[in-house]
Amino acid sequence: GFLIPYLIMLIAEGMPLLYLELAVGQRMRQGSIGAWKIISPYLCGVGVASVVVSFFLSMYYNVINAWAFWYLFHSFQDPLPWATCPLNSNRTGYEEECEKTSSTQYFWYRQTLNISPSLEASGSVQWEQALCLTLAWLVVYLCILRGTASTGKVVYVTASLPYCVLIIYLIRGLTLHGAVNGLVYMFTPKLEQLLNPKAWISAATQIFFSLGLGFGSLIAFASYNEPSNNCQRHAIIVSLINSTTSIFASIVTFSIYGFKATFNYESCINKVILLLLNAFDLEEGSLTADNLNEMKDYLMATYPQEYAQLAPQIKNCSLEAELDTAVQGTGLAFIVYSEAIKNMEVPQLYSVLYFFMLLMLGIGSMLGNTAAILTPLTDSRAIASRFPKEVISGVVCFVNCIIGLIFTMEAGNYWFDIFNDYAATLSLLLIVLVETIAVCYIYGIRRFEKDLYTMIGRKPNWYWKIMWAFVSPLLIISLFIFYITDYILTGTLQYQAWDATQGQLVTKDYPGYALAVIGLLVASSTMCIPLGALVTFVRKRLKRERVATVA
């Protein structure tokens, strides 16, 4: 159902903007700050905003790699630690919190995160998570140590390994019982979902994130390309490969998801059958999944009192409800997959493969982010002449690691959600909008055409020009309007907190200082653009005055 907005956003936004960024980087041959300065001195703020967004992203994104490491290291046990609940203190049953929810959720919320009941209760730093985070940063440092040239070789591995794992998972996933249900669910379009603007917003955000638009990393990477590199062909190829990979990965994901939903549905039905068998002392095997509904009606008619007593415990099992349980959020990615994996044969193998693939993908993203931060730093002569690039990368990794320890506290996951939801989304939209407008209207689309002609020997045809000049900016502006109206309509911002006593998520309001942090996150990156313009304007005025007084 998600496919239609995704494909439309890809063609309307993804490809044109990718081509634009690659061309800008290749032409200007500098990182994001320098490149935008060349286009117009008033636009140095755009580059700075990109770097700030990349900095925020690198602060919190590596925590995902830390979690992936944690799960990977725990996959070498039999049985898997998230497959069964731990026993309570007097060994008469399972832990209370684990009984109320499932063992995979318990493992995620209690044993991995040790999450606190709300954002205010910060708790202490979890040393296990801190260790995994340090390891994740050491791995990133190892890859970026020698500069972008060596990073390029690492990316060969981090980009190709996930494909192998995905193919293995595709074969395994499609042969699982109940996988078809998930695939049918994925491919049936839901009209009410298409009319909801949130689906389109998330499709656009997904395209931006997966292609890496607006982070400055594309400009940074493209600046290392040969000037005669055919970036038009590359842009088309990259976006097509990216989308086919996304579709391929979602086929795998949905087949595994269908397996999990079917498994849960069947266990739910078995639980109801057992409950009825025990309550009414019926013979084993008399109640099956097929005759359950008729037998329920029969029992309700024959023993109305006892059935009424039992009624609150009898759940209405529905496959649709299982499939609809929200498929979003990083935590859910870990919970859903670990739940599906624990029910397969040889779960250790699949678990190791899956979390290794997740790690490769995460580290690949981190490399892009850190490249976006490091390229401007190494470009600026003030810093690069004094320190060798090993030291600069080391300092960046170290600072990010220390800041990242916030996310390993007990309330860390709530802060993580704040960063995940607000650090990048709005700022990226604004940055990309300013980029398109800058290239098309301030730099001039004819000048850009000429630059492309000198570089690749071909002028961009009318499709690209219309996309750059009209369609993409309009789409982004409409997305902006949707976002802001959505925020105004819902009023205050809320988050999902884990309630240990109930064993489920509850909605709570953000406290004042959290709202301040959110505001700061969004403001610090978006304000860079007008501030940069203002600073350049003031500097030019001062220079002019100085020249005037001298003359």
Binding site: L72, P86, L87, R91, N278, S286
Partner: protein, 224 residues
């Protein structure tokens, strides 16, 4: 005489019926799920199995209290349903028409749970004594958690890689510095003629290219 016997038998039967009924004092409900446990190899629950059950409970009582007074006839079963579930009590033959306290029965069954389960090829989950909680076996935990071991291995590899890269980078840097200072020293000491930065001795003059335009035709030049 016959009438007295009949009267006594009926009294005993009624007494037994009173002793063993659902929710009676010191009575326990048992639930057995043979088909779930054994699938195709499931046996049917009949009077012989009930006899075995009575024997196992009597055995458990004997082992627990280590006095050999409990007989199979002391164990009473009633209300057997299709599910297969029933209630049972253990009577005390020394005291007339009373039941053994529930706590004793519970302790006895707890002690011998494993033997009882194995006699019926069932487990704690499929042979349930509803009021008696079973002690679950704790999972096997190694002394050092496995994940720390794997973490340690990976950490050592990564740190070794970083140290190697840094050291080789420093060495390359030093070599470059040494080479450039050596070359400077060399150039200062010996006035070597340089051709595009390369000392002329390095150029192999014999292997140099001869420009064919100037060397081909000597007749073109006017002779002196």
């Amino acid at each position: 005489m016959l009438r007295a016997l009949l009267l006594i038998l009926s009294v005993v039967a009624i007494a037994h019926a009173e002793l063993c009924k659902p929710d009676a004092q010191n009575a326990f409900k048992v639930r057995i799920s043979i088909k779930t446990a054994l699938g195709d190899n499931a046996y049917a629950w009949d009077a012989n199995e009930e006899y075995l059950f009575k024997a196992m409970v009597a055995f458990a009582m004997r082992r627990y209290s280590s006095k050999s007074t409990t007989q199979i006839s002391n164990v009473l079963l009633c209300n057997v349903t299709d599910r297969v579930s029933f209630w049972f009590v253990v009577t005390d033959s020394s005291k007339n028409v009373t039941t053994v306290p529930g706590s004793e029965v519970e302790a006895a069954i707890r002690m011998n749970r494993n033997r009882i389960n194995n006699a019926f090829l069932l487990s704690d989950k499929t042979l349930q004594f509803l009021k008696i909680t079973s002690t679950l076996s704790p999972p096997v935990e190694p002394s050092t958690p496995v994940w720390l071991i794997v973490f340690g291995v990976v950490l050592c590899l990564i740190v070794a890689g970083i140290v190697f890269l840094i050291v080789s980078g420093i060495q390359k840097h030093k070599k470059k510095n040494k080479e450039s200072t050596e070359r400077e020293n060399l150039e200062e000491k010996v006035e070597v003629t340089l051709e595009n930065g390369i000392p002329c001795e390095a150029l192999d003059l014999k292997a140099g290219h001869i420009n064919g335009v100037f060397a081909a035709d000597d007749d073109r030049f006017t002779s002196l």
